[in-house]
Amino acid sequence: MAHCAITGACPSDYVAVAISLLSLILLIVRALLPFISKKGPKVKISGVWLMIAQIVGSISLILSLVMSINFLTLKHKDPWRSCYIWAVWAEGPFGFGLLMSCRIVRAFQLYHVFVKRRLPPIRPSVLLTLILIPWIGGAAFLHMNKPLNHRCHMRTQWVIPIVCIHGFYLAALIGITRTVHHIEFRFHEFKDLLQGIIVSSVAIALWIGAYVLNEVHEDISWIQVCSRFLLLVTASVLVLVFFSMSLSQPLSYQISLRKRESSKVMTMRQALGIPESRLIIQTTTASAIDLNQPLDKLLENKRFRHSFMVFADSCLAGESVHFYEEVHELSNIPVDDPVRRIYMARHIIEKYIAAGAEMEINISHRTRQEILGTPDLTHPDLFNCAVAEVMQLMKTNLAREFWSSMQFVKFKEENSKQLHNMEPAGWDCSERVSCVRCTDDPFNQEHLQHCSSGNQYNV
């Protein structure tokens, strides 16, 4: 027993290592489960890299604990067993540091979007790298000075600054979280941040406790073994709890996760609980709609809009109408509810405006940059320019052919009570493509390309 306390490989050690392995597997399963189980929308790598960073950090942290605290018996001079790789690099920059930085990046993004009401000016990957620099610097400094002994322990004067840097990052996270605590988030963002704070404080406390015990009672072997075991097990559990799915998913994906039971995908409007427009009540009781009105007036009628949307989807020009509808929904959110407005505005930007977005609309560079660089996400006129351009597109491209399309005939049949004068001038086959049987809706991409090149053109 005394032997294995020093060289490792006690039975409790093996149990602890098994538990940590189990927790890592659970972590990976938890991360990948939504992607495998349901046919969720395609998520690009750029959307989930924060999650991947978390997984890497968790694995790295656990491994650093296992390798540096004598759990397994490995030969002393084995290059794998270098203390500096595990106790310094894997624990610091790539372990605890990475995990904390991911959380800080997330908090910073939330602060920027909800408190300052603009899109974050720095890309999250750049920000993460910047935040990690102190850790990397510290690790390099330690590596050069080599204060660790052969059991990967260091003297007290080295431990204090290390505890300080851990505590400093925790304090930074608490600070940023405090700035957003008054926002009423709708998707558990604040709970995630609190969870992160609690978990990291517990972890630091444990680590300090274990260190103190180990140093003070170096000769009592059962304390060593016990503290080792407890440290690894609690670290594994904490890593599992610390992991948060919501850090980097696009918001629509989160909504679909919540509604996993129902098969239909929730719209953002439903997820936010925005009431439907009052106009609908009016138009269903009105007998006929005046088809001589300009298109922008006609589109305010929900049934007309949906009929038009189906037609536009069939010609692969549907994103304009979807965009118009979501901006219309945004305008239904009262101005004194900035949080919901911000969610909706961000959703619209992610889905329709950002370059390479899944349903990117056809607007000019200037309009796009104005929206992306806006100083106020809650501004009621944020999307006005874009809507004007899109309306022009719809009028010149789609309106004329809509009148002679199947969808319009169906609409008129449903609206058949008192038709206003317009008879379609003999409906012939619309010039718009009716042969292409696929919608522009990425959620329904069942259309298989036999010889597609695989990658979308993304210049």
């Binding site: 994103e319 560079h365 491209n397 718009r432 292409v436 053109y457």
Partner: protein
């Protein structure tokens, strides 16, 4: 054979094509099978004659103009109702153009005065009172400019009255606006600007009906996909050659929709506007249009579906290219940076054109894998606004495709 059949059957889901009905209630199995076979063969033969043509290219490269020309040449052209429907589009073009020019002139004047202030400060010179930039609009026209700029930003444009047309003309003739127009490559000025501005009186008539040329010049940004089916009437009317032509949008967001059209294409007509070597893309003002076209062409050439597809490259907007190449050197575009001007005048234009053509040829052979060398590749110099030229060009395209069709069928 069965794979061709499967592909054709898939493409036949269109409500525009003939319905596809089998009579499966026959008694004898053999007779039934033979009957079905015969029908399939008939339909296949008929469908095989429908050639799918795609018009691809970057934004504003002339695809929709070619599309309109084909409609004019081989279908019934534009009837009165359709011509009248273009009135609002043309008026919209006028308002948008003058707004772009006015806002552009203001910005250029502002940035010039900013840089001259900085320059004066750096050199510690006393700031001159009248920083009269050449983009500074004369004071009496500023009010008109503001009014027209406001009109141009509305959702619904007003009808173009004589009064408004006069004001636009006054503003257009302002020296600052003309200066802005001549340096318009950094703004998004449509190519039809000059044409419409010169015809303002006619456009603002009360009973104005657009002419064919007006319609061809009108700028409409295409979104989604449009198709027509036509038969180029040749000497032999029974040839049965039918073409189905697809027009698409060229901006970056529209390109993700192209993939739905890539199967079973006989020929791709790729439009490249060679006059745009000094302009920036509409959807990304940091991207040079010629470089964008180059990358797009490469991407299209490397598509797996286009192994056997013929490529017709239309080097379009030659009329604008002619005038521009004498003022702006080709080397401003990165792709053409090794261009050396030789002569001047007409010879220079020809020399420049041959250079550009060679660049595209090199690009084609670089991008095509060795197993695709036997696909047809032809380059045509076009000006999409010129009906005679487009007709001639399309005749050549038609001949090429027919010859290739016969080669494929093993008859040549």
């Amino acid at each position: 054979m069965m794979s061709i059949l499967a592909v054709l059957l898939e493409n036949m889901g269109c409500s525009c094509s003939r319905p596809h009905s089998f009579n499966e209630a026959d008694t004898e199995e053999n007779v039934q099978a033979a009957e079905i076979e015969r029908r399939i063969a008939q339909e296949t033969k008929a469908e095989q004659h429908i050639h799918k043509l795609l018009l691809l290219g970057a934004g504003e490269s002339g695809k929709s103009t070619i599309f309109k020309q084909i409609k004019l040449l081989f279908q019934n052209g534009f009837d009165a109702a359709e011509l009248r429907s273009y009135t609002s589009v043309i008026h919209a073009n006028v308002y948008q153009t003058i707004k772009i020019l006015y806002d552009g002139a203001k910005e250029l004047a502002q940035s010039e005065s900013n840089s001259s202030i900085l320059y004066d400060e750096a050199k510690e010179l006393p700031q001159s009172e009248s920083n009269s930039s050449k983009y500074e609009i004369s004071p009496e026209n500023k009010e008109i400019g503001e009014k027209l700029s406001e009109i141009g930003s509305r959702l619904d444009y007003p009808l173009l009255t004589k009064e408004l047309a006069n004001e636009i003309k006054i503003l257009w003739e302002d020296a600052a606006i003309q200066e802005t127009y001549s340096h318009g490559n950094i703004l998004q000025v449509p190519d039809c600007a000059q044409y419409f501005m010169e015809n303002l009186e006619r456009l603002s008539e009360v009973d104005y009906v657009p002419t064919k040329d007006d319609v061809l010049n009108a700028r409409v940004r295409t979104t989604g996909v449009v198709e027509i089916q036509f038969s180029p009437v040749g000497e032999n009317r029974k040839s049965g050659e039918v073409y189905r032509l697809y027009d698409v949008g060229g901006q970056r967001n529209e390109r993700r929709k192209w993939i739905h059209l890539f199967e079973g294409v006989t020929a791709v007509i790729f439009c490249a506007a060679i006059s745009e070597y000094d302009q920036m893309a509409f959807e990304d003002e940091k991207k040079n249009r010629m470089m964008d076209t180059k990358e797009l062409f490469e991407w299209v050439l490397n598509q797996a579906c286009f192994e056997k597809t013929s490529f017709m490259l239309f080097l379009n907007k030659f009329d604008i290219f002619e005038k521009k190449v004498q003022k702006v050197p080709l080397s401003v575009c990165e792709w053409f940076k090794d261009y050396q001007p030789m002569a001047s005048g007409k010879q220079e234009v020809e020399h420049a054109y041959e250079f550009v053509k060679k660049k595209f040829e090199e690009l084609y052979f670089q991008s095509s894998k060795p197993d695709r060398v036997d696909r047809v590749f032809k380059i045509y110099r076009t000006t999409a606004l010129d009906q005679k030229l487009v007709k001639k060009t399309f005749k050549l395209v038609d001949e090429t495709l027919r010859r290739r069709n016969l080669i494929e069928a093993g008859l040549l």
